[in-house]
């Protein structure tokens, strides 16, 4: 599994990039969900969100999941293309699969990549 060192992670498998304000779901999350078939972003540009708020709803052939904001702030961009190409979350979760960008906000409770990898490892058994 892949967890870039420049990102922060939540225990519920979201990532946050402090440099760009982008957020999405982790590689571990997409592999556990398997083929993602539906994405709905629940916030709009201009909204102010708090860390922990549901920002998206994702469905795979196995399960559906709420995605919670790893950081709060003002929403500056929403990845509108995802709903037409939900498979992007499987193929590029940290790149083209970003969901929402925020600015001026604070991260909630997050882990660094090493701690997050350990968290994932523990759950695989």
């Amino acid at each position: 599994m892949n967890a870039p060192a420049n990102l922060k992670y939540t225990k519920s498998d979201e990532w946050f990039d402090p440099a760009t304000g982008a957020m999405g779901i982790s590689d571990y999350a997409q592999s556990q969900l398997s083929d993602i078939v539906f994405v709905e972003i629940l916030v709009e540009e201009g909204d102010t969100i708090e860390a922990g708020k549901a920002i998206a709803s994702v469905e795979s052939v196995k399960a559906s999941a709420e995605i919670y904001a790893p950081a709060g702030g003002k929403v500056t961009a929403v990845n509108k293309g995802l709903s037409d190409k939900p498979e992007t979350l499987n193929s590029d979760p940290y790149g083209a699969g970003w969901m929402v960008k925020v600015e001026g906000g604070a991260a909630g409770e997050t882990l660094d990549s090493a701690a997050y990898e350990k968290h994932c490892e523990e759950r695989s058994h």
């Binding site: 083929d35 078939v37 539906f38 052939v61 196995k62 399960a63 559906s64 939900p86 498979e87």
Partner: protein, 516 residues
């Protein structure tokens, strides 16, 4: 609409060459494909009512493309289709959490008795006393089985029962002026319908994790309990098939903060005559007559989800309930009719619920078994599940491995193999078994959730475990057999991803109709 002049391939008829075996992958034409103008199944009699003028021409349609077939063509078409199907009448159906028990055929006789079959819900009550007595008795029996003060038969299915129950819980708090309560506690092993029912009401879901023995994590529960809690929704035994070892403590914590306990009766088949949820302290519970009490289900319904409540919630039940409105004496039979609870949340369903399909069948089943028979049902259901668990635990990893109730959850994955639960499930079809529930509950990796029910004999259980053990061997030696399964069916592996991503809608989206 399908055009009658279709290009679909027809099943070859005899005379035009050898007939392929049934297993050949032939598409059965639709009734529209089979239609031929002028072919009929019945001869309509001459009209015996006065002729009348038709409505204006623009209100009439002339393009109603009903298929035209002879009776024999219709019968053969549906016989072919039914042979594609797998049902509890054709084989073992261990679909966890669904209690796919065999449905006794005596139920089919009773629900077709003319007195039940030919009644209408708007008839005066004096003319349907038999129906009302049956509903009244069923309410009384469910009260006794669940340990409740009152029961409504209205809800149309389990999730509808949940919604009904949570409406009553909210109404109870509101009637006491306790308006801060907006949260419902739900464990991570819950059926997805629980948070969905709560969400429909605009309440918030607070999820609590399971501990390492599969019980509700008491520390997390304690932290979640405060004066904003409506209550907790809990399935016990839970979706891991485990009876919560701390159930009394769980209920004490929820009641301690002023919350109410909701019991999801999905797994009641493990408890009949052994434990009454009402006695444990569950204030509300729905029964699934279509699981526990042998009303046929699968294929989308119909379900029947009566709800039982403790005394403090009885005034909030949906109206109407069936009650005795005039006591009889030596010469006169009592009169049954409809009653309205004092603070009723209102009506949950048109008319009186699923009467013939649901109430009569469940009544028959309970009457036939009696109290001792119901207890046998649960004991055999639990015994069968533990027998399967004992035979499979050395081959399939069982993450919460202790004595189970009526079902258990194993992992469908093997060290060093790319075979997944879905592959195992599909391969079971080749062995002529319905697959177990897979990928639920979410807290188990590659979950295979197996519920045999009490109606299966040891030979069937052995054949099923033999197949699963053989499949585990195949996973190591010939994994492609699993990846490509099923190979013996009319259609092979369906592309579930494509089906979910590229929806073909038969009608428009809601916005297409907004201007009409």
């Amino acid at each position: 609409m399908v055009n009658a002049a279709s290009t679909a391939k027809h099943r070859p008829s005899t005379g035009s060459g050898p007939v392929p075996p049934l297993s050949a992958k032939i598409v059965e034409p639709t009734v529209f494909d089979l239609s031929s103008p002028g072919r009929i199944g019945v001869t309509m009699p001459d009209p015996d009512v006065p002729e009348t003028t038709l409505p204006p021409r623009e209100l009439l349609r002339s393009d109603l493309p009903l298929p035209e077939l002879a009776e024999v063509d219709v019968v053969r078409h549906y016989m072919h289709l039914s042979s594609f199907n797998y049902s509890v009448d054709s084989g073992f159906y261990p679909l966890g959490s669904c209690t796919m028990k065999y449905n006794p055929k005596i139920n089919e006789d009773t629900c077709r008795l003319p007195g039940f079959l030919h009644t209408h819900p708007l008839q005066p009550i004096e003319t349907v006393q038999g129906n009302l007595l049956l509903m009244y008795t069923l309410q009384e029996w469910l009260k006794e089985i669940g340990g409740y003060a009152a029961v409504t038969l209205q809800p149309a299915a389990g999730a509808h029962g949940e919604f009904t129950g949570v409406l009553m819980m909210r109404a109870y708090h509101k009637s006491r002026g306790d308006t801060k309560r907006v949260k419902m506690i739900i464990p991570d092993s819950a059926h997805g319908t629980n948070p969905a029912s709560v969400g429909m009401m605009g309440l918030q879901v607070v999820q609590v994790p399971s501990d390492e023995r599969g019980n509700v994590d008491l520390k997390a529960l304690e932290a979640a309990c405060d004066n904003t809690v409506v209550g907790m929704m809990l399935t016990n035994p839970n979706t891991l098939g485990l009876f919560d070892e701390n159930i009394e403590k769980v209920i004490e914590l929820v009641h301690g903060c002023g919350g109410l306990m909701y019991g999801d009766g999905a797994n009641l088949n493990a408890l009949l005559g052994i434990v009454r949820p009402g006695d444990l302290g569950f204030d509300v519970m729905h029964f699934n007559l279509h699981k526990t009490f042998s009303v046929p289900h699968g294929g989308g319904g119909p379900g029947v989800g009566p709800v039982g409540v403790a005394a403090r919630l009885a005034d909030f039940l949906p109206e109407p309930l069936v009650g005795m409105i005039e006591e009889g004496d030596d010469d006169t039979a009592p009169l049954y009719g409809f009653l309205k609870p004092a603070k009723s949340i209102g009506r949950m369903k048109a008319f009186h619920g699923h009467f013939g399909g649901g109430f009569v069948r469940a009544f028959t089943y309970i009457a036939m078994h009696g109290p001792d028979g119901l207890k046998d049902i649960s004991q055999y259901a639990v015994l069968n599940a533990n027998y399967l668990l004992a035979r499979l635990r050395d081959t399939y990893r069982v993450p919460f491995d202790r004595i189970c109730m009526h079902e258990f959850v194993a992992e469908g994955r093997f060290e060093g193999s790319d075979v997944r639960a879905l592959d195992i499930a599909k391969r079971l079809i080749d062995y002529n078994f319905h697959p177990p529930t897979n990928y639920f509950p979410l807290i188990v990796h590659e979950a295979l959730m197996i519920e045999p029910t009490e109606t299966e004999n040891k030979d069937t259980l052995d054949a099923f475990t033999d197949a699963l053990i053989k499949i585990a061997e195949e996973a190591k030696t010939q994994p492609d057999l699993l990846h490509n399964a099923p190979s013996t069916t009319r259609f092979g592996r369906m592309d579930e991803v494509k089906a979910a991503r590229e929806l073909v809608l038969c009608c428009g989206l809601p916005e297409d109709y907004s201007n009409q």
